[in-house]
Symmetry: C2
Subunit: 440 residues, 2 copies
C-alpha cells in the first residue's frame, strides 16, 4: 500500500474467500495495488492439495504440504488474514458475514471456496467412504489404513482378516489412481517386513471406475498405460463399474458384494455450498456459471475463481477444468482486472475475457512411475515420474517445503520406508478372533 | 530366536507393557535370547517425549519425534507388537487382558506404562489446563496456542485481547521451563511479522512454580541461571506461588486473579493407573515400590520399569528419578536379568541390584540457551544448548529422525520461522468484539 500510486481514495476493499490456489493468486497479484485485501479461510493454512494423498498414505507430514497463510503474506502489508467461515453473502448490500457475527463490506468480492466430495445424492455413504479434501480427511484416512494393517496382524478369523486387508478406492481420476497406487506400494514395499504374522503384500487394492477408462480427461494412450502400470503394481481395476451400495463392511458393485473394511471416495466433486448462497445461476455440480471475465452475471464486482467457477474459454467454449493450474490462472487474471480498473486503465465494459492455457496433466502410479501429457507431448514411466516430482516441488509454496519434501521423497526412495506412519486421534482396534501371540 | 542357544523349551513368554524408553530397551536387550517377546502399547509409535514440547509449539511435526514401533523391531523377529490397552493383570494366574477381550499369558511381565499428569486431586482443572504427555496432547496445545494469536489479531476488545495473549505455564520443571521459553520465542521472533494488526511480542508468558526455584532437581546455580535467562527472554516467573483455582478464563495464584485464555499444566505427574490394578504396595504418586532388582515384592517374574517404578539405588537409597536415561537403564538391566536366568547363569535369589548411573540433566531456555549438569560439570548458555541439541539428536530412535530434526532446527535457527504452524482438528474462534479489517 505504501509505495502504490493512490488513484482511488479511500482504498477499496477486496475480499477474497478461500486461500486455495485461486485465492492466493488474487492476493499476490494485488501486492502493489492500493487496496485493502481481506483473505478469509476456514483454516490457517494454504493446502497443496495435489500431494494430499501422500499425507493420507503416511509418506508426508501435514506440515510438508500446508503453509500458514499469514506466513505467505508476511511482507504483503495490504493483506489481512481472517480465520473463519463465511456464513452469508449479500451481493446487493456488498457485505458478508463470518461465523454469523462479523460483518465485512466489500467493493470487490472473489469467491474461491473450492469444492467438496459428491456422493451423487447418497450422502449416507460419507461415513463409510471418506473422501480426501482436507488435512483432517487425510489424517483420518491415514488412521484407517494403518489401523487396518494393525488389526489384520492380530486377527485369526480368515474372512475378517481378508476384509481388513481389502481397500476399495472409488473413482479413477488422478486422486483415485494415485491413492490406489500408493496403497499397494506401502503394502508391498514399505511395511511388509514390519509385520511378523501377516503378509501385508497380499493386501487387495481395488479401483472402481464408472467409465470405460481411468484418467478419462487424459489422452486414451495414457489411460491405457496407466491401466497397465496399475495392473503391474497389483491394483485390481474395475472399469465400467458402478458402486450400488456402501456400508461399514464393504461395497456392492452391481450385484457383486466385496467385503472391505476400508472404502475411500475419489469419485465426484460438488462445488462449495457458498455458491448456492449467492442466489445466482448454478450448473449441475453446483458451480456458479460465470461471464467470460469470471464475474457473476449482474454483479461485475463479484468474481468466482477455482473449482467453484463454471467457466468456458476459447472459440469452442471448452469448459475450464477443475485443476490447480486453472485456479492459479483465474486468480492471476482477476487480480489483473481489478488492478487495471483501480488504476482506471479500462472500464468495466471493456474487460478482456479469461483465457485458459492448458499446460497438460499428470498423475503418478505407485513409486517411480507416472503418466504425463504436457502441451500435447506424452510421457510415461520413470521420466514422467521425474517430471511429476520436479513440477510438484516447483509449485510448493515455501522454500522450506521444497527442501523437506524433496528430502522425504529421496529418503523414502532409497530406504523404502515412509516417514509418518502414526495413528493419531481416537481409535479402537476391532478384532473378531485373536491370534495367540505367545504360542506355547 | 533362530540363532539363539535353546536352554529352555518351550520358549518363555516375556510380555512388555509400554513402548517408552524402558519398554523399548527391554525388548532390544532380548534380541538374542530364546524368548517370545510381546510388546503392548496404546499407540503404534514410540514417542520421544523430551521433544514433545517442540510439537506443542509448532517447531516439529509429530512424525519427527514418533516412530512406528514395528519399524524399530522390523528385523527382531522374536518381538510381536500389539496395539491395545491392557485392561487387567492377574499376577497369580500370570495372565493379562487387552481391551477386555484378548488374553495373554506371560512367564515374565514388565510393566512400563509410565506416568500421566497429576492435578493433585483437582481433576476438574484438566479441561482448562491441558498437560503434555502424548502426541494428541501436543496437537491440542498447538491448536490452542495458534488459535489464541489468530483470535487476538481479530479482537478489538482490549481486555479480551490481553487474555488471549496471556499464557500461563504451571510447573517449573524442565517441561514447564522449555514450554514457557518456546512460547515467548515464537511470540517475539517467529510469528511477530505475520500479524499485521496485533503485536504478538506483547504476549505475556507466566511460569508458576510452587518451590523457591525453577528446575529444583538441578544444581541451585543452574536454577538461578535458568531464572535469569527466562527473565531476559521476557518470561514472568512466579516462584513460591501456588495455583488455587483454574477456570476457562484464567487462574488464581493465592488471591491474585490472572486472566488467561491458555493455561498449560506441567506441574505434577502421577503413575499410570495400571500400577494400582496390580494390587501391590504403591507410593504417594501411585508408583509401584519395587525391590532392588526392580521386581514386584512376592512376584520375582514381574518387573516395573520407567516412571511407574518407585526405586532407590546406592548405599544412601537415593530415589531413581523419573527421567528418560533412568528408564533406559532400568530396561537394559531387566533384559539382562531375564537373559541370564533363561541361560541359567544365576538363580532368582542371586539377582544383582539395579544401579542408576546419573549422567546429569539439562533443559533449554528459548532458542540457543540451555543449562546442563553433566557428571557434575555445569554448562550454560550457547554451549549448553549445543550439547542439549547434540545429545537429543543422538538419542532419537531413527536415522531419518536425526536428519530431519537437525535440518528443521537448522532451518528455524537461520530463518526464524518454525515449520508446523497448523491448526488441525475441530475448532471455533471466539471473538468478543471484531476489529474492522476494512477500515474505510
Amino acid at each position: 500500500m505504501k509505495d502504490a500510486v493512490e488513484f482511488v481514495s479511500p482504498c477499496p476493499n477486496v475480499v477474497v474467500i478461500g486461500a486455495g490456489f485461486a485465492g492466493l493468486r488474487v492476493c499476490q497479484g494485488l501486492a502493489k495495488v492500493p487496496v485493502n485485501v481481506v483473505l478469509i479461510d476456514r483454516h490457517n493454512y494454504h493446502l497443496f492439495q495435489p500431494l494430499l494423498y501422500q499425507v493420507a498414505t503416511a509418506a508426508l507430514s501435514p506440515a510438508d504440504i500446508a503453509f500458514p497463510i499469514r506466513r505467505i503474506f508476511r511482507y504483503q502489508k495490504n493483506v489481512s488474514c481472517v480465520l473463519g467461515n463465511v456464513t452469508q453473502i449479500d451481493l446487493s448490500r456488498k457485505c458478508l458475514t463470518i461465523d454469523n457475527s462479523q460483518e465485512i463490506d466489500f467493493n470487490y468480492l472473489i469467491v474461491a471456496s473450492g469444492a467438496t466430495h459428491s456422493y451423487f445424492g447418497k450422502d449416507d455413504w460419507l461415513s463409510n467412504a471418506p473422501g480426501l479434501k482436507t488435512i483432517d480427511d487425510a489424517l483420518f484416512i491415514r488412521k484407517r489404513i494403518l489401523l487396518a494393517f494393525e488389526e489384520a496382524e492380530n486377527e485369526l478369523d480368515e474372512s475378517a482378516q481378508r476384509a481388513k486387508l481389502t481397500f476399495v478406492v472409488v473413482g479413477g481420476g488422478p486422486t483415485g489412481v494415485e491413492l490406489a497406487g500408493a496403497l499397494r506400494q506401502i503394502a508391498v514395499k514399505e511395511i511388509q517386513k514390519d509385520y511378523h504374522h501377516v503378509d501385508t503384500s497380499t493386501a487387495r487394492v481395488m479401483l472402481v471406475e464408472a467409465n470405460e477408462r481411468v484418467l478419462k480427461t487424459f489422452h486414451p494412450d495414457l489411460s491405457a498405460r496407466a491401466l497397465r502400470d496399475l495392473g503391474k503394481l497389483g491394483v485390481e481395476v474395475r472399469l465400467n463399474s458402478s458402486v450400488t451400495s456402501v456400508d461399514d463392511g464393504g461395497i456392492k458393485i452391481g450385484e457383486e458384494r466385496i467385503d472391505a473394511n476400508n472404502v475411500f471416495w475419489a469419485a465426484g466433486v460438488q462445488a462449495s455450498p457458498l455458491g448456492q448462497s449467492l442466489g445466482v445461476e448454478l450448473d449441475r455440480a453446483g458451480r456458479v456459471i460465470v461471464k467470460p471475465d469470471l464475474s457473476v452475471p449482474g454483479f461485475p464486482n463479484v468474481f468466482i475463481a477455482g473449482d467453484l467457477a463454471s467457466a468456458t474459454y476459447g472459440v469452442n467454449n471448452l469448459p475450464v477444468p477443475g485443476v490447480a493450474p486453472a485456479a492459479m490462472q483465474m486468480g492471476a487474471f482477476i487480480s489483473k482486472v481489478i488492478a487495471q480498473e483501480i488504476r482506471a486503465v479500462h472500464l468495466v465494459e471493456n474487460r478482456p475475457p479469461f483465457r485458459y492455457w492448458d499446460k497438460g496433466s499428470m498423475a503418478t502410479i505407485g513409486k517411480a512411475k507416472a503418466v504425463a501429457d504436457i502441451n500435447g507431448w506424452k510421457f510415461t514411466g520413470f521420466v514422467a515420474w521425474l517430471m511429476w516430482s520436479l513440477i510438484h516441488l516447483m509449485f510448493l509454496v515455501s522454500f522450506r517445503a521444497k527442501v523437506f519434501v524433496m528430502l522425504n521423497w529421496g529418503y523414502t526412495y532409497i530406504f523404502q520406508s515412509s516417514g509418518a506412519r502414526l495413528i493419531t486421534g481416537e481409535f479402537k482396534p476391532r478384532i473378531h478372533k485373536f491370534r495367540d501371540v505367545t504360542p506355547n
